[in-house]
Subunit: 152 residues, 2 copies
């Protein structure tokens, strides 16, 4: 991970569909060299994938909620995690410091679906209680913060 790798990462975080030729121009290397660097970043796990950023409401996922989970004392955390992982509505799952062991970000189409999700969560073994907060609007989300110094 030298400065050029950081520049590549920054460029791809900004636009994952840049061609290798374009990346090469931006960082001042040849296209094959960039190809190899990006391949190594991928196989070493620095770059985990490439995702289109889609407006959620336009694909019927207009309701965003953040849900805190309090774990049962003596619950099997791994089992509970597997139960959570199966629910597609849960986009993100953080293990937190604090009373609420987990914080979930969930996305559903309607408030009714959110209600169903919460019911399912409360029935999940290991879950003692949940606390749900609804996002009224998303000001911005997953904004990539530049990390390579002054990249071209």
């Amino acid at each position: 991970m030298d400065a050029i790798d950081l520049s590549l990462v920054d460029l791809l975080r900004g636009n994952a569909r840049l061609s290798y030729a374009e990346l090469a121009r931006q960082v001042g290397l040849s296209a094959p060299a960039v190809h190899e660097r990006v391949g190594k970043l991928e196989s070493s796990g620095v770059v985990r994938g490439y995702r289109a950023d889609v407006a959620p409401e336009s694909i019927g996922l207009g309701v965003t909620a953040l849900i805190g989970i309090v774990e049962d004392s003596g619950a099997d955390t791994d089992d509970m995690l597997e139960s959570l992982r199966v629910l597609p509505e849960i986009e993100s799952c953080y293990f937190m410091a604090g009373v609420e062991s987990f914080l979930l970000k969930a996305r559903v189409g309607t408030i009714a679906e959110l209600e169903q999700l919460i019911v399912r969560l409360n029935r999940t073994p290991g879950v003692a209680s949940t606390r749900t907060a609804i996002a009224l609007s998303t000001k911005w989300e997953n904004r990539p913060q530049p990390v390579g110094s002054p990249a071209a």
Copy 2:
């Protein structure tokens, strides 16, 4: 937004670097047709961009925190938002229902940097108080939930 558009969106949410030729094979259209459809999805705002998904710790952003903000009564929300927007550490910003008007997801390199960020937030005009919860680990994040029916 017909079924083919939904398939394209799903495919690109899974791998934003798929070629138009490959997308065309997957949805059963020609490459130019897919090119035009994707172009329309972009210009209509359904697809907002393409981002590399990078392991944050590998670019020096190993600390994730969620920060709730209680607004001053009578504060100018728009001004406060602009002050928040300027802080690159804040990756996401949601306007919430509840006592805490805003919920921020912030990413920094060290606990010391998090401390500085919290101090800055508390000094920001319009901010009455903050409440910070630290993510000890990220189980998963920004997992795209499939939305097009059975896409190829």
